[in-house]
Every structure is written in structure tokens, then in C-alpha cells.
């Protein structure tokens, strides 16, 4: 997500909530509708058990209107709230069919089947208020046509009693057949809708948050019951009236579940208080994620930090990471400070339904997140630095290796050949003692040059290490050491060249130090490899108390070891010898 997108995201949350007057007016209208429902039922000349019927209808109308208002205020940018309000009033309109007067009766009858499709619409559009796919839009559109369009057609055909103002022809048989078709079609659409929704949940691959799952389940159950009810109605199945009441009861459960979810989100905000307490203890970046995950009740939560100088998102350890695209059940919330993105929460998309919780958690964790961001930035820089140190060291080593090779193949070989040439020349000049002696002098000069070159070449790069490995190279080091050395190299295979060279210099320098400072009577060199690391240990029985900083060369060795991600430790207690131990990772 770019900053611009993040800003748009932030704007989305600040979309304007409905004015309090509007909310009050709608709520009042809801109560008025409930009252009207009761009045219509009690005065109706064609309703059995009017009190129970009115109560069932109100059980649906009012919760939908009120839950819709709550949703609208909580997420003004979502169409879900208004959609629920509409669903509530649609239900109310269908109760007009209880009226004794022809006009309200006709209106009520026209709206008779519509609530089923509005519920389907609400169900499929939950929680964003929008239908996600063309298929879903087609499904709902077809539903509206069947439930409302065909209902009007049926009424034109007559058959809904004498109060049906829309009757044009009197074909009650055709109207009844059409009604059966409508009922079966709506049943099918409801079941398809449930199937689509369940498939979507399965595809998301992970459970939605529980409160949301509950709402979806309540809706799904309601729709299945509508389907069952309508099929029963179409085929004059048994127990229609009981089933109808049960269905209405279940449909009214969905907003109740929704309101319960809202309540639980309110409770969740007390988790923010816990979070504040946890953050006071200044947690590590890793613990910060856990604390936030607990507060948001989202165990999948990931944190990303914005590193401006790398223009990249990174994890808590400064490793670059890409924010996942929204979708697949994931969503990203960017947290800003002073208009500058500092971090992003990658969370369950369902959390978008609780923007206040997200805001509260983000606000509470602001400073901790900024600290964690700085930590990530530092880690990224350290990583970069470590990488460049390795590259510098590697480049230096390669260059020295190249120089050593050039010396070996060039000057050294030529000097040996030249000296050989002089020797053979000298044999021909046996008669001339002066020439012989001058040639001999030249040869000894060449021999000295060769010795110097050999020392230089060895100083540049220990070719024996590259050529024959650590075990071979350490043999001469140990033999030439100023004190008896117990050498124990326990390696099955060759090691990476960098590591071998570092280990060689480590042993070489440590043995030199023993000769210069330790006054030791013996020492040991151990090289072993296990558990993914190589351990090099040089121990002497000398006076200890070595200066680990100045002039000991230990600093340079530590650089070499650390460049390989290893660790160099020196124990040098006064009077109790010195132990130099390097641990270098080696897969």
C-alpha cells in the first residue's frame, strides 16, 4: 500500500456519520412502524393471532432498523447500515397487507415477498454493504425481479382478493401458479446465496472473527429457513404456520448477533487498557507484536515498519518485506505520526469493522511502534553495514589472493629459472674463477630475493590454506610455535575459504601472541565443527592478563570473525592463562 492509498484509507474511516437528527428521525420512524404494525394486526379482519404476528414482525423490523443505525454510525462509509434500515422498513411495508383498507393492503401485498430478497442482499453484502461479484449482483437483481416484479404481475392477474387494486384480469389460477414459481425461485436464490457465501468463507481459508461468523451463520440459517418455508408454501406442505413463525424468529436473530458483535467490540476496547499497561514495560519489538495481536484479538497480526531512507517496508528485524495486497482476508492499516507513515498493521480484514478498536490500539501503541520502527531501521542499517564489511573483506582477500598468485606465477618462477640458468652458465665458466664467484654471488642474491618474495606472498595470502585446507596449514604453524602445541583438528571436509583463512589467521596470531606475551609452557589448538558452527580454540597456560585491545591484533581478528557472523571471545584472567575462542556459523 502506498502512502496515498493509506491516506485514502484513513479518509474512508472519517467519512461523515449521519447527523443525530437523521438518526433520531429514523429511530422514531422505526418505533412508529412497530406501533403501526401492532395497530394493523389488532384491527385486521384477516389475521389470526394478531398479537403474536405483530410481535414477530416487530422482532424483525425494530432490530434491523436499530442495528442498521448503529452500523451506519460506526462505519458511515459502509452501505451496510442503510441497507439494514431499508430491510427493517421493507418488512414493515409487507405488514400493510394486514390493513382492511384496499390501498395499504395492495401496497403490503406488493411487498409481501420482498423482505426475503432484501435479507439475501444484506447477507451477501455483509459486512461491507457492497456485493462483491457480478454473480452476486445478478443473483440479487434477479431476486428483486422475482419477488417484486413478478408479484406485481401476479396482482395484475388478480387472485389476491377483492381489495387488490391492481387487478386487471381475473385469472386467479394463473396468479397462484405464478406465486408458486416465485416461491420456488426465491428458495433457490436464497440457497444459492448461502452456497456462495460459504464458498467465499472456505476460500478465505481461515475463520473470520467469531462475532462476524456468528452474524453470517444467523443470516444463513434465516435464508435456509426462508427457502424451506417458501417451498413448503408452494407445495402446501405441512406445518406452514409453525415454520413461518420459526423463520421470522431466526431472521430476527441476525441483527441481535450483529449487536452482540458490536458489544463485544466495545468490550475489546478494554483490551486497549491492558495494552497500555503492557507497553509501559517497554516491550521488545517481538513482544510488541504479540501485545498488539492480543489487544486486536488477531493472532495472525503482522507488523511492518516504514524505513524512509530505504523507501521500503521492513519487519521488526529490518528485513525488507512487501505489504500484502488487501483481499484474501487480509487488510492493511497504516499508522502515521505527524503525517509520516511509521508502521503498518497487516491484519484480518474483519478488523475493518472495528475501526475504533484499530484506532485506539494504534494510538496506544504509537510511541512503542515508533521505537520499534527505529529498532527496525537500526537493524536494517546494521545489516547493510555487515554486508558491506563482508564485501570489503572479501574484496580485499580476493585482491591479496590475486597478488599472491601473480607473484607465484610470475616473479618467483622467473627468479628460479634465472638462478638455474646462472648455475648452468657457471658450469661452463669453471676455468674463470672470478666469473664463477660473481655468478655465485648473483645466485645467492636471487635466493635471498626468493626468500623475501616467499615471505611477502605468504603474508598476502596463505596459499596453502586455499590449496590444501586448514588441517594441513595448521601443521607447520603448530610445529614452528614457540611452545609445544597440542594440535587437534577435527574436520571431515574442507570449509568455505573465507572461514578457513579467518581460522588460519586466528591461530597464527594467537600463537604469535603466546610467543610474545604469554610466557606459557604449552598450548593447545582445537578446531571442530558441530551444530552448524566451527569452533576454533587456542588455549595457553601462560600468565594471562593479555591486553585484548591495543596492539594484540585481536581486534583485527574479531573483525574477521564478526564479518563471518561469528563471535570471538577472549578469557585472559591474570595468572591463569589465555583462552581465545571463535565460533563461526557454518551450515
Amino acid at each position: 500500500m502506498t502512502i496515498a492509498e493509506a491516506a485514502r484509507e484513513a479518509n474512508r474511516y472519517s467519512a461523515r456519520a449521519p447527523a443525530p437528527a437523521v438518526v433520531c428521525a429514523i429511530a422514531l420512524a422505526g418505533f412508529a412502524a412497530a406501533g403501526t404494525t401492532f395497530a394493523l394486526a389488532l384491527n385486521s379482519d384477516h389475521v389470526d393471532e394478531p398479537g403474536l404476528q405483530a410481535a414477530l414482525m416487530t422482532w424483525i423490523t425494530l432490530p434491523y432498523v436499530l442495528a442498521g443505525l448503529v452500523a451506519w454510525c460506526r462505519r458511515p462509509e459502509s452501505r451496510f447500515g442503510p441497507l439494514m434500515v431499508v430491510a427493517g422498513f421493507t418488512m414493515f411495508l409487507s405488514t400493510l397487507a394486514w390493513a382492511n383498507a384496499p390501498l395499504p393492503y395492495t401496497i403490503g401485498q406488493a411487498f409481501d415477498l420482498l423482505p426475503a430478497i432484501v435479507f439475501l442482499h444484506v447477507f451477501l453484502a455483509f459486512p461491507t454493504g457492497r456485493l462483491g461479484t457480478t454473480f452476486e449482483r445478478a443473483l440479487v437483481g434477479l431476486g428483486y425481479f422475482v419477488a417484486f416484479g413478478l408479484e406485481i404481475v401476479g396482482m395484475l392477474l388478480g387472485g389476491y382478493g377483492p381489495d387488490n387494486l391492481l387487478e386487471v384480469v381475473s385469472e386467479p389460477g394463473a396468479a397462484a401458479t405464478l406465486l408458486d414459481v416465485q416461491l420456488i425461485a426465491i428458495s433457490a436464490l436464497c440457497l444459492i446465496g448461502v452456497g456462495v457465501r460459504l464458498a467465499r468463507r472456505r476460500r478465505a481459508g481461515r475463520p473470520l472473527r467469531r462475532s462476524i461468523a456468528l452474524v453470517v451463520d444467523a443470516f444463513a440459517l434465516g435464508l435456509v429457513m426462508i427457502a424451506w418455508l417458501f417451498v413448503t408454501g408452494a407445495f402446501d406442505g405441512p406445518g406452514f404456520e409453525t415454520l413461518r413463525r420459526a423463520t421470522f424468529f431466526v431472521i430476527g436473530l441476525a441483527p441481535a448477533a450483529f449487536l452482540a458483535g458490536v458489544l463485544s467490540a466495545r468490550l475489546a476496547r478494554s483490551a486497549v487498557a491492558d495494552l497500555l499497561v503492557e507497553l509501559r514495560a517497554a516491550p521488545d519489538p517481538g513482544e510488541l507484536r504479540d501485545a498488539l495481536a492480543r489487544a486486536l484479538r488477531d493472532p495472525t497480526l503482522q507488523l511492518a515498519f516504514w524505513l524512509p531512507q530505504y523507501a521500503s517496508w521492513a519487519d521488526a528485524d529490518g528485513r525488507p518485506m512487501a505489504l500484502p495486497a488487501d483481499g484474501d482476508g487480509l487488510a492493511t492499516t497504516v499508522i502515521e505520526r505527524d503525517g509520516q507513515a511509521i508502521a503498518a498493521l497487516v491484519h484480518d480484514a474483519a478488523l475493518q469493522d472495528e475501526p475504533q478498536l484499530l484506532d485506539a490500539v494504534s494510538a496506544a501503541a504509537g510511541i512503542a511502534l515508533e521505537n520499534a520502527r527505529l529498532h527496525a531501521e537500526l537493524a536494517a542499517r546494521l545489516d547493510e553495514l555487515r554486508g558491506s564489511r563482508v564485501r570489503v573483506m572479501e574484496a580485499g582477500q580476493q585482491e591479496r589472493k590475486r597478488l599472491e598468485r601473480n607473484l607465484h606465477d610470475g616473479a618467483q618462477q622467473r627468479l628460479v629459472a634465472l638462478s638455474l640458468e646462472l648455475t648452468m652458465l657457471k658450469k661452463r665458466l669453471d676455468a674463470d674463477p672470478e666469473a664463477s664467484s660473481r655468478i655465485e654471488h648473483a645466485r645467492s642474491e636471487i635466493a635471498l630475493s626468493l626468500q623475501e618474495l616467499r615471505d611477502i606472498a605468504r603474508g598476502l595470502h596463505p596459499a596453502v590454506v586455499s590449496g590444501h585446507g586448514l588441517a594441513v596449514a595448521l601443521e607447520s604453524l603448530a610445529a614452528r610455535a614457540p611452545v609445544p602445541i597440542r594440535l587437534n583438528v577435527d574436520l571431515q571436509d574442507r570449509l568455505p575459504e573465507q572461514l578457513e583463512v579467518a581460522a588460519y589467521y586466528l591461530v597464527s596470531e594467537s600463537i604469535a601472541n603466546i610467543g610474545k606475551h604469554a610466557h606459557a609452557s604449552s598450548a593447545s589448538v582445537d578446531v571442530s565443527r558441530n551444530d552448524g558452527q566451527v569452533v576454533i580454540e587456542v588455549v595457553d597456560d601462560g600468565v594471562g592478563g593479555a591486553d585484548t585491545e591495543a596492539g594484540s591484533g585481536l581486534r583485527g581478528l574479531a573483525d574477521r570473525v564478526e564479518a563471518l557472523d561469528g563471535r570471538l571471545r577472549v578469557w585472559t584472567p591474570s595468572g591463569r592463562g589465555t583462552r581465545v575462542r571463535a565460533e563461526i556459523p557454518c551450515a
Binding site: 598468485r405 607465484h408 606465477d409 618467483q412 618462477q413 622467473r414 628460479v416 629459472a417 638462478s419 638455474l420 640458468e421 646462472l422 648455475t423 648452468m424 658450469k427 645466485r443 636471487i446 635466493a447 626468493l450 616467499r454 606472498a457 605468504r458 596459499a463 596453502v464 586455499s466 590449496g467 590444501h468 588441517a471 594441513v472 596449514a473 595448521l474 601443521e475 607447520s476 610445529a479 614452528r480 610455535a481 614457540p482 611452545v483 609445544p484 602445541i485 609452557s521 604449552s522
Partner: protein
Amino acid sequence: MRVAIAEDSVLLRDGVARLLGDAGFDVVAKCGTAAELMLKVNSFPPDVVVLDIRLPPTYNDEGLRAALEIRERHPSVGVLVLSQYVELGLALQLISESADSVGYLLKDRITDTDDFLGAVRRVADGGSALDPQIVSTLLSKKRPDDPLAQLTPREREVLELMATGSSNQGIADELVITLRAVEKYVSTIFTKLGLPSTRSESRRVLAVLMFLRS
């Protein structure tokens, strides 16, 4: 005496070939790589091979591997390894089982032509030639309760020459003493160091080296 040479520097290869040719050797192969040498040696084994330890393509251990392979597959072929640096570890690899027909010398030793030709002949005849630098490294090695301290300076000299692979006659010539005197020294040294005596000169090289290494 047939000799094969493997050395990647043309200048040096030709120089050594000329030196050996002048000294009466039959130079049957002059190779630039270990692979070429192996081909020649496998098809027509010479009496002795003189090779550089660093050979193309990687200049790492091609020469050493060729030397070890020849020693294993053609025990009768003497192998004299030359190098710009001598390493105790490599010497121990070369003579790990036997010091017969093997030599390991610093490349500079070529220019002491008489010693060098002597070493080539010794190796071709089944003896050994170990660079004095290696022997001195071993002799200078610090040991707790150094057993070498029991040796007289002259005995030390004899031990050093013995370790390089010199024959008794060679030692006698070098130190300008009689053959009998050399034999006496050798026997005293073996007694003092607690080594089982042996008449084979290459076997005593191995024994002395293993003693010095420990």
C-alpha cells in the same frame, strides 16, 4: 633413466628439462597440467616424475593429487614434488604410509643442481628426498622434555641429514667422516630416541619423521 616433468611455467619447465637432459636423464614428457601428466604416466610409466605442486586450472591441489595418485597406482614410479613453499602438513600427506620413492623440495633447490640431481636419482631409485626446511621445522619443534636434547651436536647433524633422505654414504660425504662413523652415529641416535633400528634408508626416514612429528 626416464623422467617426466610437469610444470606450468614454460621457462622453468624447459630449464629443468635441459638440466636433467644434460645430466643424462631421458626426458620422456614435458607437461603443463596434471591431467596431461597423468595421461603420459598411465600410458608409459617413467622411472621418476618431477612435478610442481600448484598446477592449472585452479592452482590449488591438482599437483598434490596427481602425486598421490601416481604413488598409489604406480608404486615403482618415483615422485618428486616441487613447490614455492614447503608445508609440513603436505610432507606428511605425501609420506603418510611410506617414504619410498618420494621427494618434496622447495623449488629453489633446483638451482643447487648437484643436490637436485642427486635427489631425483635417489627418488627414482626408491629413496626419499625431504626438504631441509621441513626437517629443520620438525627439529625446532618445541617438545616437553625434549628427547632431542640427549643428542650431541654431531648426532643432531646426522639426524637432520638422515631425515632429508640422505644415504649413509651421502651423510659421510656431507660431514666428511667415514661410513663406519656414520653407521655408529645412526645406531646411537636410534637407541637414544628409542626407535627400532632398520636398514632401509627410506623406512628410517619415515620412522624419524613420525618420531619428530609427535
